[in-house]
Amino acid sequence: MPVGGFVINVDPERIEESVHRLESVEGVEIHGSDNKGNVVAVMESSTSSEMEAMVKAIMAIETVYSVALTYFNGEDEVERGRDGV
């Protein structure tokens, strides 16, 4: 089960609304935000394909300006050998 740590940048004037919408994406946990619109999120999914789909869904929210990854762990997938196949 891959896990990613992300910083999502949202419109600083619409933070609350953005966080709310982010929380509604399944598998996304919001860990905090600041008044500049930096939102710290952890995403967990059963495959990295699913995580890519989650990122796509987040990018489609119009108050989201960018989604940046800072940490990614895919050790289970690699060990199961199903990676990239």
Partner: protein, 803 residues
């Protein structure tokens, strides 16, 4: 109570993200040390899927890459990565089943490939090249390289070709993307590559982004620009000038949507406003600038320039530009540009891939010289590079037909002989005439003038404009083609010999990104099967060539590298020769940036870095400024704070060029009424031979499509998903439509990553090129479009190896 492994990983993810954004969270990883010890090791390196140069650490467990994190201390990405950066570890080591693992050979291109040993592969490669040289002369062989190869690789290839095989037929795919930027920097500033750095992102008050979809092509750099804008919404302005509305336009205060090919007029009109409203910086002009025109670079007066620019009134140019351009918008853009505390221009292929790409570069630089928006914090004329090592390897390492390592021109006797001396080979060994530039090289393949070519780490069969024309030549049975790469591509389909190479993190080497920064990646995992680093291949090949041609000088070219193990010692020895001998005393002096220094830093070193002490601080952030650039102090000729010591301008001036508007090589007409432009999408890189194999990225964008403006779609009865035929005088594609307010009316846009014959847009593009830089005009040609059917089920396509 310790945390579960799962919980630990999740907390690590949250804490890493929070620390990069400067947030503190009410959680901790109490058992951190216990868990940290079960990671085998972390390895620093660079992402190779765009030109940004993001630094990351790869976690290796049981010999496999399993996790990664951005390096927060890195001055390129500050710890952030995009999705491509997150997933490219899936191509490493044995993580991907389709990696090329054995040398493959066929004598004829209509035969299937057979696996052969390395010994035999190197024998074949050397015999074929030697045979060709003997029969057809030294200029019948060529090397075509890549802005994704390490500097050590480009350097050793070109050394063997020039010093060993006595030909300057050394080229690389940066000719297709960066050559016009080189031409622009050299003719405007007297020296290649940007004056400033990424650090200007956090200091600029105005961004002028023209011909770059930064949000998709350089996502992590875009994040920095976006952050600067969001943190200073009212004081920082973003101007985006582009015929297409792209995700980059989202943060723009002003979008200038001009018709394709009217960029030169737009830039001259901004200069007009700067002159008319006296927005120029008189002192800066007096101290540092000159005006030039024509092929002979004739010096002219400010009055002459003013008379020239009179023709570009905003009112007149607004009519030329069409789109949404008004005179007011041009005036506003010029005012913001000139008046801001620091203006940073950014551009890539939209400007470079033009039949007047060098001129377009000059005209951007003109605006900076006129207003003195250079050399101070936030002020810079900054070309973004497309590939991770186009600057470091190809521009600096001697990877183009007219340049030798460290910015030396082939045609200058003194510089050529200098290189021969440094290499310890006889004077006169390197021919005085530059070799074939990329388009001429593949034309020479078509004509049978080039009979043997080594193509490394790139796929010209797909990436050349009007590629069908050049694939014909590559199919010739009398042209022997070696391709070294990690996966099958459209080009391996045309090869005689395929050599499997090690990927990044499976070998050691340096990438130099856009901001003059060289960054080292040391081997962390084993390459799959028998894949090998290129530096080893070239050394072994050269030794055999030396025997075949009975020429000891070829051996001499690789003698300093004999006996070195290939994963670390060999590239290190090559880097040492290149930096300590070739760059010493040149404007890209990297002699302080040894492997030891590079390994100590989280990111790397910006040249000039003439001493280790200077290199350990990261090198030079802004060139030409006394006190900030050691060479500006060393070469100072007067008391002025800026010293433009670039090798191409002996007068030490910045040159403002008189360059008229010039349209594209092919304009829409009644038969082909649309402009066709091409570009990238965030999830794919170039010809998608790598990103197409990362299943998540492929699923997100399984095939290319054609973007059609809704007004054109309505007129032509085109609905989203309909199959559209895109035809030019050269070729034809059939792709699904995306109806979208992206391209302006009368223009369509197609992504160029798809390997499917029906969706490979370079079969349609035009191979006209800039007479100065020889860079092709990928961005503009004429086409017609037609709806051929409703939506059809489509399959993603990748070239696979046929047994």
């Amino acid at each position: 109570m310790g945390l579960s492994r799962r919980e630990f990983i999740k907390r690590t993810a949250a804490l890493t993200a929070a620390s990069y954004a400067g947030l503190s969270l009410p959680i901790s990883n109490e058992d951190y040390s216990a868990h940290a010890s079960d990671a085998d090791s972390w390895h620093k390196g660079t992402c190779r899927l765009c030109g940004s140069g993001c630094r990351l650490e790869l976690e290796v467990k049981n010999g496999k890459a399993v996790a990664l994190r951005g390096i927060p201390q890195s001055r390129t990405n500050m710890g952030y990565l995009c999705m491509k950066g997150m997933l490219f570890y899936k191509l490493m080591g044995n993580n991907h089943p389709e990696r090329l693992k054995k040398p493959l050979y066929r004598a004829r291109k209509d035969q299937p490939f057979r696996e052969i040993s390395w010994d035999r592969a190197l024998d074949i490669a050397s015999k074929e090249f030697a045979k060709t040289v003997k029969k057809y002369g030294n200029n019948s062989v060529a090397y075509y390289g890549s802005g994704q190869a390490f500097t050590e690789e480009t350097y050793i290839f070109q050394k063997v070709m020039r010093g060993g095989l006595k030909t300057n037929n050394v080229e690389g795919n940066p000719r297709l993307c960066m050559a016009s930027a080189v031409g622009g920097y050299v003719t405007s500033f007297g020296a290649d590559e940007p004056i400033g750095s990424y650090s200007n992102f956090e200091r600029a008050s105005c961004f002028f982004i023209i011909g770059s979809n930064t949000a998709e092509a350089h996502p992590v750099l875009f994040r920095r620009i976006m952050r600067r804008k969001m943190d200073n919404k009212d004081t920082v302005k973003v101007i985006n000038a582009d015929p297409r509305v792209s995700p980059t336009s989202r943060i723009a205060d002003l979008h200038l949507q001009f018709a394709p090919g009217t960029d030169l007029a737009l830039l001259n009109a901004m200069a007009y406003v700067i002159l008319e409203d006296k927005l120029y910086n008189e002192d800066f002009l007096k101290n540092y600038a000159d005006f030039r025109m024509g092929k002979k670079k004739k010096k002219v007066s400010l009055q002459k320039y003013m008379a020239f620019i009179k023709d570009y009134t905003p009112e007149k140019v607004a009519r030329i530009c069409g789109g949404n351009i008004t005179a007011d918008k041009i005036r506003k853009a010029a005012l913001w540009f000139a008046k801001s505390e620091g203006t940073m221009s950014l551009w890539t292929m939209g400007i470079n891939q033009r039949s007047r790409g060098v001129w377009a570069n000059n005209l951007i630089h003109n605006l900076h010289i006129l207003t003195g928006q250079l050399c101070r914090p936030g002020a810079d004329s900054f070309s973004l590079t497309g590939q991770p090592n186009a600057c470091g390897g190809v521009r600096e390492g001697g990877g183009l037909c007219h340049i030798l390592p460290a910015h030396r021109l082939v045609k200058k006797n003194k510089l050529r002989h200098q290189v021969e001396r440094l290499w310890g080979i006889p004077e006169g060994r390197i021919p005085p005439k530059p070799g074939y530039h990329t388009m001429a090289m593949f034309e020479a393949v078509n004509e049978g003038k080039i009979k043997a070519i080594w193509i490394n780490c790139t796929s010209p069969a797909q990436s050349l404009p009007n590629c069908d024309k050049y694939r014909k030549g590559m199919r010739r049975e009398d042209v022997f083609i070696v391709v070294s790469d990690i996966f099958p591509t459209k080009t391996t389909e045309l090869a005689n010999l395929i050599l499997p190479t090690a990927f990044i993190f499976e070998k050691t080497g340096v990438y130099g990104c856009t901001e003059r920064r060289s960054q080292l990646t040391v081997k962390a995992v084993n390459a799959p099967g028998e894949a090998k680093p290129e530096v080893w291949m070239v050394r072994e090949w050269a030794l055999r060539l030396s025997k075949e041609l009975n020429d000891p000088v070829i051996k001499k070219c690789v003698e300093p590298f004999m006996g070195k193990e290939p994963d670390y010692e060999l590239p290190k020895a090559i880097w040492e020769e290149y930096t300590q001998k070739l760059t010493k005393g040149r404007d890209n002096d990297l002699s302080g940036a040894t492997y030891e220094v590079l390994e100590k830093l989280p990111d790397g070193v910006q040249w000039p870095a003439p001493t280790k002490q200077w290199a350990l601080k990261g090198g030079t952030d802004i060139k030409f400024v006394r006190g900030l650039d050691p060479l500006a102090d060393k070469y100072a000729k007067n008391d002025l704070p800026y010293q433009f010591y670039g090798p191409a301008h002996p007068d030490r001036k910045l040159w403002i060029w008189l360059r008229p508007q010039k349209g594209p090589a092919e304009m829409p007409d009644s038969k082909y009424p649309f402009y066709l432009s091409t570009g990238r999408i965030i999830d794919h890189w170039h010809t998608s031979s790598m990103t197409g194999r990362i299943i998540e990225l492929m699923r997100a964008n399984p095939y290319a499509y054609v973007e059609v403006n809704p007004k054109d779609a309505e007129r032509l009865g085109i609905k989203p998903g309909d199959m559209i035929e895109v035809v030019s005088r050269r070729g034809r594609n059939i792709l699904p439509a995306k109806v979208y307010v992206g391209p302006c009316e009368g223009m369509v846009f197609v992504y160029w990553h798809d390997e499917d014959e029906n969706r490979m847009i370079n079969r349609v593009t035009k191979d006209a090129f800039d007479p100065g830089s020889k860079e092709p005009e990928f961005k503009i040609c004429a086409c017609r479009i037609k709806r051929v059917s409703g939506p059809r089920p489509l399959k993603p396509f990748l070239v696979h190896m046929k047994a």
